[in-house]
């Protein structure tokens, strides 16, 4: 059975209005906030971001996720990322990402644009 949180998350993500195109350059600056725990090409306190789009949450091999993230059944795309980044602890209660989130929608859109662009960067494709 699908966990209630996952159902709520999926519905909310599906109901989100279409995201405007983000500014990847601005998003790169916002990504600097993530660099205590994340990197593009390798796992740190948080999992790597290369290959993020289309990946099922909690599925990077060898990374130790919270049970909540493993069971979330989220597949990362623009909408699910927008929902999660707005308030990680509300989107996936029990996530190890103890972070209030990126409240500003424009900042989230830019950050997601950067993550998408970075997926094609040499460090992600080699």
């Amino acid at each position: 059975m699908k966990p209630l949180a996952a159902v709520a998350f999926s519905l909310a993500a599906a109901a989100s209005p279409a995201l405007a195109a983000g500014d990847a350059k601005s998003g790169e600056a916002i990504y600097s906030r993530c660099l205590a725990c994340h990197a593009l090409a390798y796992d740190r306190t948080g999992p790597r971001h290369c290959g993020l789009f289309g990946r099922r949450a909690g599925s990077v091999e060898g990374f130790e996720y919270s049970a909540a993230m493993r069971k979330s059944k989220i597949v990362w795309n623009e909408k699910t990322l927008d929902r999660f980044l707005a308030n990680p602890l509300q989107a996936v209660p029990g996530t190890a990402m103890g972070y209030a989130g990126v409240a500003d929608r424009k900042e989230r859109t830019d950050l997601i644009a950067y993550l998408k662009q970075a997926g094609g960067a040499p460090q992600c494709t080699k």
Partner: protein
Amino acid sequence: MSFLILGNATNMLAARRAFLGRSGLLLSGAAVALLAGRDALAAKGGKSGADDARILNTALGAELEAIAAYQVGAESGLLQKPVLDLAVTFQGHHKEHADLLAKTVAKLGGKPVSPKAKYSFPVETLKTQADVLRFAATLEKGAVSAYLGAVPVFGNRDLAKAAASILGDEAMHWAVLRNALGEAPVPAAFVS
């Protein structure tokens, strides 16, 4: 990094050492306050306590990685005194943070994470002292943002206060590292 800037940084380092010594006292004050709240923390327990322990454990993981990163920097042979001393001092702060976080996680009934057997660092990009400083500054800036994002989500306000105390220390590290790189030490009125 120019010698002019390094010279300037050298002059500032002595004053900063004294200042950082005092900041260590401030952090110790927060640590003492946190430890003094042992019974209250233990009594808190429950979902909120478990959530707080999870947040602290994530912070602990990042602190342990920072300790390892400074070790890589210190052993790289690229850092010269007094920058090397500075790195070792900052690493010592991260050790204090990690120690406090681990004790607090345990007090909340959680299991503190242990250092990883192996960390991945972009060592192939570290060719000069400036490269190491820039890498450290990136981590410290990220740590400031991470603690800033954690402060409002703690159920226990004392833990939020302790996290804010660590945030202040990380922000000072970031500023000093930026200054040593010849960048504006405090680039904006707010951090994010």
